[in-house]
Amino acid sequence: MGQCLRYQMHWEDLEEYQALTFLTRNEILCIHDTFLKLCPAGKSYKEATLTMDQVSSLPALRVNPFRDRICRVFSHNNVFSFEDVLGMASVFSEQACPSLKIEYAFRIYDFNENGFIDEEDLQRMVLRLLNSDDVPEDLLMDLIQHVLSESDLDNDNMLSFSEFEHAMAKSPDFMNSFRIHFWGC
């Protein structure tokens, strides 16, 4: 287990994290606590890293169908440093601004990472959302066609970032659903 001194974080670091992220003081300290519990012994929190599996199996992300994409987008070189975890929590916090959330949502939903959300990405997204083994092909195609007809403004069968941004700005549920309360804080 990690070193568990509660106030190992210096006050200046705490102030800096508050200025650079959307998290409140309590949230940062909560995350710091849990990070220390999970990281390997003997390292300070600034150097320790968590693996993608460890972050995927956190209670906040455990049942999320997009947890592998979330881990992929927010990690560097397949590991999570403390600041990566803070960055992730900041994007998913309640106080984050819509443009930041839309930006990261686009990256998460771009499964093949080509800078656009195309039909392949949409297909994988729908399969993950429905989470069933037998989705009829025509249902899938119908849904994808409806989504594209609503948001693909230039008719190229892909969603560029501006089209996605436009669609999410009109969506009433996006801000409410793209939130995670990390670690019961």
Partner: protein, 703 residues
């Protein structure tokens, strides 16, 4: 989750390669503050290379002043460097600019800290968050709505308290050196001031309980009801506090405040509903991209969310198919369907009329028999007669949704529309019953068989203090509603859960199953309670305080019932939809509450035996009387504003402004359509050119 497609990223189509090199793509990516470059071998997104990085920083530092660092989509170490750059930049600014920047930053930090602190003060924050995690955002929005109503009632009570109750209490308990003023009445009105106090002879014990439950007897004289405030003014040292005016102003103030607060809260939902295109009620984009609640932590809740998404998406596609089928109806079928719908709507109206007539009869019967000797009746019979209108209303509200649900099957609407129409009919039914009750009372108060009505304007023999009696009816409705909610939870929900848990071997119990939390019914219940509170607050100033307590207790009762007896429903309400629906229903309730209040305030003469308005003809007369005490120039202005010479031109100007905005909106719509067409044409050109370029490249390589 099966993903048959592997991440073979080196085989991105050439089109995508070119698209990523276009200047438009790059400038948008720079605006998002990271440049995405692809590593051609592994296909992963790289962080910006160093040469790009300095370019990137150059771009960003130009805009640093306008955006806060947090909003950049970079990781923390990069943000740290940006912050350092920003601070070195500060040195090159003048003193004034530095001070401006510093003060705006500290102001923002101060605002954030206050927001954080007020968020801690939010009522029931932890409870609502845990409900959200376990049952989803639809049910959580119900509890947020309940919390909003608690706050609204508290503020209404504070308004009434400060304007009316506080001066009266100060004077009564001699806290300030003030006296009551009472204006003697004209002789002709003396007969109207006869107010028989209930007999204080041999009083049985149970009459206390009856009094508590129905507001009669010892409660009638207390500050709970309108009749207690028979005061024409309060004389302080320097001025006279006009209590009738304050009473009327408090009523208008709480109605206006409720209206403004509800409209403010619903502005977001309404804006979104306006932007949405007219064809779909719910957009697929919203359901797919914002369909998953990221705050779900529970495995069973996650499974439920998956199945509810499956259900919802299938239902939407089904609805689409039905709509297409409807559009293809022949004219014969259309005529048949419309005549059937007309007939069924007549049946609905007949059912509503029957219910309203039943309520009218019950109210009349109850009012007539209440005047008989209470001591001679049996306890149960007494209570039954007192509560007869409430019982009939509750029964009607129980039976009619079942009838409406049966009828709507034959009307052949699409499923989504069916649900909405049924809910609208139930809402109207529930709220109109209160209006019918109040109008029945009103008709009884102003009708008299003989000539006594001309004397005082109302039925003075039966209703010497009619406002108190209306207040008592509202009080009874509220108490009965509260008792029913508690009784249903205790005697129906919990036993059902016990039966399902312990006797699950019985087939019948298995079929019946565990209860689901039915959001529309619960919302209608609390909107009904709030409508009663709005109507009753004029006749019974302490009613909002009772409503606040009632809603607080209901919150805990419903929360316990939800956590211990309900299973999550497979058909989930969306939060955005729910919020709009709740506030719409509340607004309908407010409008239906304002109607009886305005009629009673302006056309029924106020009672001469009790209350603050004894020296006025009707309640509304306070305002013209007060205006006559203003200076003559102000009086002239007010007379000018309320005259026809002002109102008609004002109305015409408002109509012109409205037509202008409608024309503007139409013009914008046309421009948007044209731009969309142009956009798709441009994109076709772009793809054509890319294709030509790719072919040319291949030819070049082949040669």
């Amino acid at each position: 989750m099966q993903e048959n497609l592997s991440l073979d990223s080196s085989s991105f189509s050439p089109a995508v390669n070119f698209l990523q090199e276009l200047p438009s793509y790059r400038s948008i990516a720079r605006r998002r503050t990271t440049l995405l470059s692809r590593d051609k071998q592994s296909g992963t997104l790289l962080k910006p290379a160093d040469s790009y990085r300095s370019h990137l920083e150059g771009e960003i530092t130009e805009n640093l002043n306008s955006q806060s660092i947090r909003k950049y989509a970079l990781n923390i170490s990069e943000k740290r460097r940006l912050r350092a750059i920003q601070e070195t930049q500060m040195k090159y600014l003048s003193e004034w600019d530095q001070w401006k920047r510093y003060s705006s930053k500290s102001w923002k930090r101060f605002l954030e800290k206050t927001h954080e602190m007020t968020r801690h003060l939010e009522l029931w924050r932890e409870d609502i968050r845990s409900i959200e995690g376990k049952f989803g955002t639809g049910i959580q929005s119900y509890f947020s709505f309940l919390r909003f109503l608690v706050l609204l009632n508290l503020v209404i009570f504070l308004i009434i308290f400060v304007l009316v109750l506080l001066p009266v209490f100060f004077t009564r308990y001699k806290i300030t050196n003030s006296t009551f003023v009472s204006i003697p009445l004209k002789d002709t009105d003396m007969q109207c001031t006869v107010y028989p106090v209930s007999s204080s002879g041999l009083v049985y014990f149970y009459s206390y309980i009856i009094d508590l439950l129905s507001g009669t007897g010892f409660l009638e004289e207390t500050s709970l009801f309108y009749g207690h405030y028979t005061i024409d003014g309060i004389k302080f040292q320097n001025f006279t506090y006009d209590l009738p005016l304050a009473y009327l102003i408090s009523t208008i103030a709480y109605l206006a405040l409720s209206l403004l607060w509800i409209v403010k809260r619903s502005v977001e939902g309404f804006k979104v509903n306006l932007i949405r295109s007219e064809e779909h009620f719910q957009s697929y984009c919203n359901k797919i991209f914002a369909g998953w609640d990221f705050c779900i932590t529970n495995r069973s809740m996650a499974d439920l969310k998956h199945s509810s998404l499956r259900y919802e998406l299938r239902a939407d596609l089904e609805e689409e198919r039905i709509r297409q089928k409807i559009a293809q109806r022949t004219s014969e079928e259309t005529i048949r369907i419309y005549s059937l719908r007309l007939f069924l709507n007549c049946i609905v109206l007949a059912v509503l009329a029957a219910c309203f007539y039943a309520i009218y009869l019950a109210t009349t019967f109850s009012q007539e028999h209440m005047k008989k000797e209470i001591d001679k009746m049996v306890f149960g019979e007494n209570l039954l007669i007192l509560y007869l209108p409430s019982i009939v209303i509750t029964l009607a509200n129980f039976i009619t949704p079942i009838i409406f649900a049966k009828i709507i099957h034959y009307e052949d609407y699409s499923p989504g529309f069916e649900i909405r129409l049924t809910i609208l009919r139930c809402v109207f039914m529930r709220l109109a019953t209160i209006c019918v009750l109040v109008f029945t009372l009103g008709s009884k108060i102003t009708s008299c068989g003989d000539t006594t009505c001309e004397l005082c304007g109302y039925n003075q023999k039966l209703y010497p203090c009619w406002e108190t009696q209306v207040g008592q009816e509202m009080y009874k409705l509220m108490i009965f509603d509260f008792i029913i909610i508690l009784a249903v939870t205790l005697f129906v929900d919990f036993p059902r859960k016990l039966l399902v848990t312990y006797c699950s071997s019985w087939k019948l119990i298995q079929c019946w199953g565990q209860q689901e939390f039915a959001i529309p019914d619960n919302v209608l219940g609390i909107v009904y309670g709030q409508t009663i509170c709005w109507i009753g607050a004029f006749f019974s100033p302490l009613l909002p305080a009772i409503a606040t307590m009632k809603f607080i207790i209901i919150f805990y009762v419903k929360e316990l019932s939800l956590l211990y007896t309900c299973r999550p429903s497979p058909r989930q309400f969306r939060a955005s939809n729910s919020n709009f629906f709740f506030l719409l229903v509340l607004l309908i309730g407010l409008c239906l509450a304002i109607i009886p209040l305005t009629i009673s305030m302006s056309s029924i003469p106020s009672s001469k035996a009790c209350g603050p308005f004894t020296s006025y003809n009707t309640t509304w007369d306070v305002i013209p009387m007060t205006v006559t005490t203003f200076p003559s120039s102000l009086q002239a202005v007010i007379h000018g504003i309320t005259s026809e010479a002002f109102a008609v031109p004002f109305f015409m100007i408002i109509c012109l402004v409205m037509f202008y905005f409608i024309a503007l909106a139409g013009a914008h719509k046309r421009v948007v359509l044209q731009l969309r067409e142009q956009l798709s044409l441009e994109s076709r050109d772009k793809r054509y050119l890319i294709q030509k370029l790719t072919e040319a490249q291949q030819d070049l390589r082949g040669q």
